[in-house]
């Protein structure tokens, strides 16, 4: 078994060393952080599942989670999660992933993509780092497509955190590879679980920054953290972070162990969306004006939180899915559904 804590620490250190203020600024301006990417690639951190010593998929998922935790806790401006996910989907379909950044479609059912006669046509919106990636994983019907963004018309866009979210349009483009038997819903769940983890970890970092700040900032002759009104807001947020993290772990376990993946991932994303939203709000409140300032780092986490909440399913979308799943299982108690899901 690999040492998960060590991998996480290695990833944290590699990111911290390479994520200089200049790198952060140029990434915000839409530039590709080549040096940081290469540093992580050299450490083998970008295809985390591939470094699992046992070859056990569960171990691969834990390593992936360790790297994503590190990336989210430092708001690394790179498609680390996307590359891991896309690589994992390609591997499942027997396609060898090239090295380099990978991306994926939003998988929300709004894509208009067709595949016929070996050619893909249509449009994908808000594709993370499409401009920089060597390939995009998408789904048309039940075909998994791996498409080269250079064969598409690309329109640049960004999310609120300045992360690229591009629109790509294909007109009878031959994909790099394709495979039958894609399960779009399963893929959506898998992506939602990863975004849930990213949200939980970004929220954990915002909470941590807030606790530190509340201990240092003095008003009325004492640290603001000495005021009960501040303590209670932070304490409530700590509960949100703890439950979002556990929900993300439960989703990962369901995927690794073949549990009720839809149920667990839906829960994880809905929980993380709401938890991270609450933590972002609290963190800004406790920071006062400094949190609103560009030079201060809090917004790097809260802007990501606000961007990620809507990706791979907002809360109402998943809560409705959970509710309908329960309502449709007539004759079964809610409790039996909850406990069977693990």
């Amino acid at each position: 078994m690999s040492d998960i804590a060590l991998i996480e620490e290695t990833a944290r250190r590699a990111i911290a060393d390479g994520l200089t203020p200049e790198v952060i600024e140029s990434a915000e301006a839409g530039e590709w952080s080549e040096a940081l990417w290469n540093r992580l690639e050299a450490q083998g951190l970008l295809q985390p599942a591939a470094i699992a010593e046992s070859g056990d998929p569960a171990e691969g998922l834990e390593i992936e989670a360790a790297v994503i935790r590190a990336a989210s806790a430092s708001a690394a401006p790179l498609p680390i999660a996307e590359t891991a996910l896309a690589g994992w989907f390609l591997a499942r379909h027997g396609i060898e992933a090239p090295s380099g950044p990978l991306s994926l479609a939003a998988l929300n059912g709004a894509e208009q993509l067709t595949f016929s006669g070996g050619k893909a046509s249509g449009r994908l919106e808000r594709v993370p780092w499409a401009r920089d990636s060597v390939g995009i994983v998408a789904v048309a019907g039940d075909t998994l497509l791996f498409i080269d963004p250079r064969s598409a018309k690309l329109t640049r866009g960004v999310n609120m955190a300045g992360e690229p979210r591009d629109t790509v349009e294909f007109d009878a483009a031959a994909p790099i590879a394709s495979a039958a038997g894609a399960d779009r819903e399963y893929m959506l769940c898998r992506c939602a679980a990863v975004r849930a983890l990213q949200l939980a970890e970004a929220a954990a970092r915002a909470l941590e920054m807030t606790v530190e700040y509340a201990g240092q900032r003095k008003q009325f002759g004492r640290p603001i953290g000495a005021f009960q009104a501040i303590q209670h807001q932070i304490a409530a947020a700590a509960g949100e972070v703890a439950s979002a993290r556990v929900a993300a772990q439960q989703a990962r376990l369901a995927i690794a162990e073949g549990g009720n993946v839809l149920f667990a991932c839906a829960i994880a994303k809905a929980r993380a969306n709401d938890a991270a939203g609450a933590v972002a709000r609290m963190s800004h409140q406790v920071h006062g004006a400094i949190g609103f300032a560009r030079e201060y780092q809090l917004h790097r986490f809260t802007r990501r939180i606000q961007s990620w909440r809507g990706e791979y399913g907002a809360s109402a979308f998943w809560n409705r899915r959970i509710g309908e799943m329960i309502l449709n299982e007539r004759g079964r108690s809610v409790w039996s559904i909850v406990t069977a899901a693990g």
């Binding site: 209670h232 932070i234 304490a235 700590a238 376990l253 809905a270 509710g323 693990g342």
Partner: protein, 380 residues
């Protein structure tokens, strides 16, 4: 910043075995004809005896004390199944959850032999003697006094909100045993007092749901022998803190009224709507991680750890969820609460709503729990 330690990796075959067993037991038990909201405040001693006979009380305790030497996760499963079914579990609840474990941790061999087997049989019940009229959240300010006599202790003072003191056998008291003002915490001790002791009187207090669950207990020169002391004289405060980890971390902090959700889902299956589906999903997506957190604590308690920080997080997020459950069902979709109704949903909705204010008071108020969490985060 301290990070709470939760690990949701809990998938042990023995848990599913005991789940099937307790479900079978409950399905056949007559008490389950009427599931209850806030079910662990409903007292049914016949039910608790049947449960004890079947081996579901004192599950983790050594066999020599009448226990069953099962894992803390097996016990967790039984507890959550009782709650999810709405079982009237009050009679044995406190003794099984905290008084028994306190005896195991701090009691003498004689105390354990005398009391634990009866608790495990579902025949001996305990109540908590912490709060006093002038000492609620500020528990260390308790004034009930135990004074040493030649052969034991004499107790004077009053305890309040003592749940089921009128139907229990013992009350585990937190009393002042030293007047040294510089030792506010070190002057406290825990004493286990039989509730039929001469000089002890119990006055009922009816709650807003119209039920007599809690009481005021008056102590006027109540004599108890020396061996009524639990643990060390002067160590009462530390002992109570360990008791609170058991008291706060369990699934009763988010499942006490789960049957209401069950009944709401039955109603929504008859009258489906998108609003109902979203509400159900939003409640389940909060509940599922709480289960993982509480199970993780059960495993930690089983290893002898005292996860007070984690327990406070579970109680705080759990009681919020429980209050939202009733609040949102009643306030947003189904206003038809009626405590006298034949209709299960209407009755449970009323029962849950009428108990909901207590969820963030009993076992430590929301404000106190948030204070504990803030302290562990390093803010105090």
């Amino acid at each position: 910043m301290k990070t709470p330690n939760f690990d949701a990796r809990m998938n042990f075959p023995e848990m599913e075995r005991v789940r099937a067993e307790i479900r079978e037991f409950l399905a056949a038990d007559p008490a389950m004809a009427t599931p209850r909201a806030d079910c662990w405040s409903h007292f049914d001693d016949a039910f608790s005896r049947r449960l004890g006979q079947a081996g579901y009380i004192g599950m983790t305790w050594p066999k020599r004390y009448g226990g069953h030497e099962r894992s803390s996760l097996e016990r967790y499963v039984v507890v959550e199944e009782l709650l999810a079914a709405g079982a009237p579990a009050a009679a044995h609840w406190i003794a099984d959850r905290q008084t028994g474990p306190q005896l195991l941790r701090f009691g003498t061999e004689e105390q354990r032999q005398r009391i634990l087997p009866a608790i495990a049989r579902g025949e001996c019940y305990c109540s908590i003697g912490m709060s006093e009229p002038d000492s609620g959240s500020d528990l260390a300010s308790v004034r009930t006094r135990a004074t040493r006599t030649g052969d034991g202790w004499v107790i004077n003072g009053r305890k309040i909100w003592t749940t089921y003191a009128h139907r229990s056998h013992y009350i585990l008291m937190l009393c002042r045993t030293s007047e040294d003002a510089s030792a506010r915490h070190r002057g406290l001790s825990q004493i286990l007092v039989p509730l039929d002791s001469p000089g002890l009187s119990i006055r009922p207090i009816v709650n807003m749901a119209g039920a007599h669950d809690f009481n005021e207990v008056l102590f006027e020169d109540v004599h108890v022998p020396a061996d009524a002391l639990l643990g060390q004289e002067g160590a009462g405060w530390d002992q109570v803190m360990s008791e609170l980890a058991f008291e706060r971390s369990g699934p009763e902090r988010f499942l006490s009224s789960f049957v209401l959700l069950e009944a709401f889902v039955e109603r929504a299956r008859r009258e489906p709507s998108a609003e109902a589906a979203i509400l159900i999903g939003s409640l389940i997506s909060r509940l599922a991680p709480l289960r993982g957190m509480s199970m993780s604590i059960a495993a930690q308690l089983g290893r002898g750890e005292l996860p007070n920080f984690e327990a406070a997080l579970v109680k705080e997020t759990g009681s919020l969820l429980e209050q939202d459950l009733t609040e949102k069902i009643l306030g947003e979709i189904a206003p038809e609460a009626d405590p006298t109704s034949e209709d299960k949903f209407r009755r449970l909705l009323a029962e849950a709503m009428l108990h909901a204010p207590s969820f963030s008071i009993r076992g430590g108020t929301r404000e106190i729990l948030r204070g504990i969490i803030a302290r562990d985060l390093g803010l105090r």
